[in-house]
């Protein structure tokens, strides 16, 4: 452990970074690997791969992700913004490329092949989008003469329209939620909060009544164990939790995982429920909650508007993504393609999350107040005065 007196890049990092959040994320990574040892082999066997194929690949991706995460966390807020901008531009281009030239998988064009790897560019857009939105809103508060807020508002359609076209409703929803959270945080008038909220609810109701596939999906969700063919994964997932009960059947002892098609990715949480039991699942929920609340708390403590918004936005991104995945597994909401952060298998998802959490760790670093005040004339307090 570096001494506090010794000033180096690393010691600066070590003493300013939020080590508790970092520890939480690394515990998640290790736990995810352990859970994947249960959920991966059945799928690997089905694909005629070696049983631990997914575990080995996940280990590789985890090490890459750890490097990305740590490297990102060394960046200063200014570098973060620039990195995010570059990533946003590059990956939005790839999203549009995928939309135009990509391979259609399961009815949507989300994937591009880059250097022999399947890549889902929209995953990388997410953290970059959050940073850019936070940047725009914070600029809006810092310099009201600049149209920062307007940029922030325009950023949403710019990002989600290609996603809707893919179509990728899950990511769209996630980005909308995070964006709405940021807008709310940035001080949107309550009139608009209720107005937009009402519009959102109204939009969902209209979608239910006017888009047959939405109607179908919602109906299927409420039709428990009915004849609908699409509820198979969800019903099986619920069965996993019931069969695992409190203490689980034991690692590797799960049987229901064998008929869960996505037992290594979106439904790994259900496999965990069957093999490790509800207590471990609750601990996992607690770990996600800890990282989210810790980040929100750090965001609140931070007086730099950009860092506060970015930290809060990334925490919402992280927390909502985890919540959506777990809720789908538990049949609380209709199915959405969404990975469980650091737990589910998948390179794109892992790297994107590493990027996001790297940004998060970076923006929640303690910084000298003078450094903040040099840039901002403390707008957070000025307005209150």
């Amino acid at each position: 452990m570096p001494s506090r007196t010794e000033r180096s890049l690393f010691s600066d990092w070590w003493w300013t970074v939020d080590r508790l959040s970092l520890a939480g994320v690394f515990v998640l990574m290790i736990a995810g690997l352990v859970f994947l040892m249960g959920g991966g082999p059945p799928v690997a066997e089905r694909l005629n791969l070696p049983p631990f194929h997914f575990v080995h690949r996940q280990m590789f991706w985890l090490s890459v992700a750890a490097i990305v995460l740590l490297a990102t966390s060394f960046l200063s807020p200014r570098h973060i913004r620039r990195t995010a901008l570059v990533i946003y531009v590059v990956f939005m281009a790839l999203v549009i490329y995928a939309l135009l030239f990509g391979v259609e998988v399961k009815g949507s064009r989300r994937w591009v092949i880059l250097a022999g790897q399947n890549l889902q560019p929209s995953e990388f857009v997410k953290p970059a989008f959050v940073i850019l939105a936070a940047w725009a809103f914070s600029e809006g508060t810092r310099r009201p003469e600049m149209p920062g807020t307007l940029f922030g508002v325009l950023l949403l359609p710019l990002t989600v329209i290609p996603l809707v076209l893919q179509p990728d409703i899950g990511q769209t929803m996630l980005l909308c939620v995070v964006w709405a959270g940021l807008f709310y945080l940035a001080g949107l008038h309550m009139f608009w909060v209720f107005g937009l909220g009402g519009a959102g609810v109204g939009g969902i109701v209209l979608a239910y009544f006017f888009f047959p596939h939405v109607t179908q999906r919602v109906n299927r969700f409420f039709d428990k164990g009915g004849s609908g063919g699409d509820t198979f994964q969800v019903d099986t997932a619920v069965e996993s939790f019931v069969s695992g009960s409190w203490l689980g059947k034991g690692p590797g002892e799960g049987t229901i995982k064998r008929i869960l098609p996505d037992s290594h990715t979106d439904f790994l949480f259900a496999v965990t429920g069957e093999e490790f039991g509800a207590i471990v699942c609750l601990a996992l929920v607690a770990l996600f909650a800890f990282i989210v609340f810790r980040s929100l708390w750090l965001a609140r403590r931070n007086e730099d508007p950009f860092c506060r918004f970015a930290a809060a936005g990334l925490a919402i991104l992280f927390g909502v993504q985890a919540s959506i995945n777990m809720s789908v597994n538990l049949h609380l909401i209709p199915p959405k393609g969404m990975t469980l952060p650091f737990i589910s298998y998948g390179g794109s998802s892992l790297l994107s999350l590493a990027l996001g959490v790297g940004f998060l760790i970076s923006v929640t670093r303690r910084r000298p107040k003078a450094e903040i005040d040099a840039r901002f004339s403390s707008p957070l307090r000025e307005a209150a005065a």
Binding site: G187, T255, G273, V285
Partner: protein
């Protein structure tokens, strides 16, 4: 200038972000609590029972059924250990592959049905019941996870259609659904087995029936020939021991193979001896004759006028079939099957006496035997003199053939009314509960007139030499849409052997037999039912009875003493 309130709508308030962060945090508290609560809820949900294995209790009860044997110990029904293939759809990974493999090994399975079954979310579905050991080995070697075997006992009826109506049938789960099989279940075998008693087949004593498999086969064989030969809609027959009430053989065609239990439920396959109710026609004249003699109002040589061949009663007209136009003694009435004579006999006894006599002989109540199948007789709601007159010659009262047999059995066996049974029983057991319904002397008179009828009446076709056969024909016109129809006949024939000391009663009934060139277009009972009964007696009597080469000396002593009409006609058979 815009109003400040409007401008404020577009002002961002970053100073509020602290409080709003707390609101977002609260939102996450709610979300994570919901998730945690849902996990706890699912974890405390009751565990699904393991694959709902086929109702352990009934399976145990059904697994072991006693064997059923005939009166000589020949096997009629048994249970053999077998296996059934079942699947647990939720444990099958590739349902299409499983369907393909299973249908390849068990080619009689319907692939699309099987696929549909495997695609359910059930914990248990049958793939195929009762497979052969070879099929079992083949399925086993497929090694499909989620497909396994369930040991079961398959009910087997080695004789196929023989005695099908007596045996009844069991369903796939080994539960009796008809006949003696259902009777066995009602006896508490299932209850015993599920209580853990009699848990092996060896512990269960075989059920011994009164049926004689040899006689049964002959009876069915002759009936099948008759059904085909006379182009009848249905035919049924019975061989009955009048001294014990045991049913020696029962056949009702068309019949079914109890190995295919679904066939047992076809309405055309009913047991016509137990469940059909018919107007028995002239065979009922035996009852009328017995009633007249037993009442003491008439003697064997009492005469009845049949002048004109027509009896008018109000608007009703009774015709003679074999009209003589003169006064007839009781044996003559029987011999010529005189409707008018029988009607006059019944009128002499009176409506109340007639009713009481038929009631005493069990003709007005539902006859219940071991077989769960039974039917109540159809008794006229208002029973006036005209009813008595028609019932006297067998029209207007419909009874189950077995019921008529029970009564005629009592008329010839010395007067004891014995309830028919399908289980083996001794004469002592039978007589223990058998009321005396007519005088022994009346019984002798009945035997006499039946014998006389075989010597020089309508029962000659059944008079097989050596067995001293007696008999009575009966032809009833069928009621179609409420009217009697001349050319749709229901014919019956009852024979007893030997007539001096009857042991067996033979019954044949035919539904709508057709006239043939060799019967000169006649379709009356003597030509078809009588013919078949003769063939049955010819084949069966050597098994059941000792033939006598000399006629019995003085077979009807009382009749001889009374100089009954026709006593000198006894021939040497």
């Amino acid at each position: 200038m815009l109003p400040s309130a409007f401008v404020n709508l577009f002002r961002m308030r970053p100073d509020k972000s602290s409080g709003r962060l707390a609101v977002l945090g609260a939102g996450f508290v709610v979300i994570f609590s919901l998730i945690g609560g849902r996990i706890a809820l699912l974890a405390s949900a009751p565990q699904d029972a393991e694959p709902d294995t086929p109702r352990a209790a009934t399976a145990a009860a059904a697994a072991f059924r006693p064997d059923i044997v005939d009166r000589n110990g020949e096997l009629l029904a048994t249970s053999i250990p077998s296996y059934s293939v079942f699947a647990e759809p939720r444990n099958i990974l590739d349902k299409d592959e499983a369907t393909e493999l299973l249908t390849a090994v068990l080619p009689d399975l319907n692939a699309s049905e099987l696929r549909a079954k495997l695609n359910t979310k059930k914990g248990f579905v049958w793939v195929k019941r009762f497979i052969t050991p070879r099929e079992k080995a083949e399925v086993f070697h497929l090694g499909i996870p989620g497909v396994a075997f369930w040991p079961e006992h398959r009910r087997v009826y080695p004789n196929g259609v023989e005695a099908a109506h007596v045996l009844g049938a069991t369903n796939l789960d080994g539960v009796g659904i008809a006949g003696i099989e259902k009777y066995i279940d009602a006896q508490g075998v299932g209850a015993l087995a599920s209580a853990g008693l009699g848990s092996t087949a060896e512990d269960l004593k075989p059920i011994q029936l009164s049926i004689d498999l040899r006689v049964q086969h002959i009876l069915r064989d002759k009936l099948a020939w008759g059904l085909d030969h006379f182009k009848a809609k249905a035919a049924a027959g019975l061989v009955y021991d009048v001294t014990t009430g045991e049913v020696i053989a029962l056949a009702s065609l068309p019949d079914f193979d109890p190995n295919k239990p679904a066939d047992a439920l076809d309405p055309d396959h009913i047991n016509r001896i137990n469940v059909g109710v018919y107007e028995m026609g002239s065979t009922f004249k035996a009852l009328t004759t017995a009633m007249a003699l037993d009442s003491g109002k008439y003697g064997i040589n009492s005469t009845f006028s049949t002048a004109g061949g027509v009896l008018r009663w109000g608007r009703q007209v009774i015709h003679e079939f074999h009209g003589t136009g003169r006064s007839l003694t009781i044996p003559e009435v029987f011999l010529h099957s005189s409707n008018i004579g029988s009607a006059r006999m019944a009128l002499g006894v009176g409506v109340e006496g007639h009713k009481a006599f038929l009631k005493k002989l069990g003709q007005l109540d539902r006859l219940r035997t071991e077989l769960p199948e039974s039917a109540a007789p159809i008794v006229p709601a208002r029973w006036g003199e005209i009813n008595t007159m028609t019932i006297a010659f067998g029209h207007g009262l419909a009874v189950a053939p077995l019921q008529a047999v029970e009564a005629v059995g009592a008329l010839v066996n010395g007067g004891r009314l014995i309830t028919p049974t399908f289980l083996r029983r001794t004469q002592d057991e039978a007589l223990a509960n058998a009321p005396q319904v007519i005088k022994p002397q009346t019984s002798e008179a009945l035997r006499y007139v039946m014998r006389l009828n075989a010597v020089s009446g309508s029962a000659r076709k059944a008079a097989v030499p050596g067995y001293f056969v007696g008999g009575k024909t009966g032809t009833a016109e069928k009621v179609i849409n409420g009217r009697y129809v001349h050319n749709r006949l229901f014919t019956t024939f009852m024979a007893i052997a030997p007539a001096d000391k009857p042991r067996y009663l033979f019954l044949t009934i035919m539904d709508e037999p057709k006239g043939l060139p060799e019967t000169f277009g006649n379709a009356q009972a003597a030509w078809n039912s009588g013919d078949i009964t003769g063939k049955v007696i010819e084949a069966v009597a050597p098994i059941l009875l000792e033939p006598r080469f000399d006629p019995p000396a003085n077979p009807f002593p009382t009749m001889a003493k009374l100089h009954a009409w026709g006593i000198d006609r006894q021939q040497t058979q």
